[in-house]
Amino acid sequence: MAFPHSDVTVAPHPPDQAAGDPAGTPAAPVTVKIVVAGGFAVGKTTFIGSISDIEPLSTEAAMTEHSLGVDDAGGVSDRKTSTTVAMDFGRIALPGDLWLYLFGTPGQDRFHFMWDDLVTGAIGAVVLVDTERLEQCFDAVDYFEARQIPFVLAVNCFDGVARHSLDDVRSALAVRDEVPVFYTDARHRQATKQALITLVTLAMSRMP
């Protein structure tokens, strides 16, 4: 089955929507983002750091931020049990006043509250795969498939040695033929670059 096309309307040019000041303000870069998903210690931050203009930064979100829809102080007691999850990210300035953000996020389904946030408006996702802990990316694969978000599977070769064939990885994860599966080395800029190129090319191929 072919990937369904996105039903998002394509604007001829992304207008820069400045909120808060009706008067003319200097133009801001257009921002785009790519999600880097995968299990703990699979190399997400290394991947981001290998190509980012800035040292990867870390931010956190509290689990309860999104589980509570309240707009007042009503849910205080619920918040006692709040857990936070760290997220590392980097930024690449591209010609044409484009800023590409790379957001790394843990791959377990208990972090989905954060993914909803991350994938909104994202080009797609690079799922980093550790073949020794393949199960850690099941959730990510399911999530992106269910939401028809373009994603690629980048098998990280920690020591430059491929322990499993790409076909094995593909069949173990039961992804469709359209999903690119390839080896990468998160430490190397060229490999990271290629992974991003593969994802953007996939995203473009799926546009109407």
Partner: protein
């Protein structure tokens, strides 16, 4: 608006101090457990994207002047920064920064560049993707 006296800026202060600032007490309506955001967990406007860029409005003077708001204004005076970067630099959770930035934008102290309307993010624009592809390829 009179200039708020600026306490010295060592380490960014933590939450509760601001509760006792005269200015914020004046505005207090309830006891505020999520003190920095006056109990709110969501910004008044729709959720700001993590990559939304924030820039201070030239000549903005903050009548509230809490340490965190001042940090946001100072940082975005130096350079335009995303909500995510502000969260990292302030060591505050994203949700808190979203509320603070939302407030500052509502008060006309910062401009938030959301890039495009939610209906058509840049990533849905083929031309933008082409530029991204070309840009990455040239790195």
């Amino acid at each position: 608006m009179t200039e708020t006296p600026v306490p010295d800026e060592r380490e960014p202060r933590r939450f509760d101090h601001d509760l006792y600032d005269e200015e914020s007490v004046e505005e207090a309506r309830v006891v505020r457990p999520y003190a920095l955001t006056r109990g709110r967990t969501r910004p008044g406007r729709s959720d700001l994207p993590l990559e939304a860029l924030v820039r201070v409005v030239a000549g903005a003077t903050d009548p509230v002047g809490t340490a965190e708001r001042r940090r946001i204004l100072d940082l975005t005076r130096e350079q335009i920064l995303s909500v995510a970067e502000l969260s990292a630099h302030l060591s505050l959770p994203l949700g808190v920064v979203r509320v603070l930035v939302g407030d500052l934008a509502d008060e006309g102290l910062v401009v938030v560049h959301t890039g495009s309307p939610a209906a058509a993010p840049p990533a849905a624009n083929l031309k933008v993707l082409e530029s991204v592809l070309d840009g990455i390829s040239a790195l």
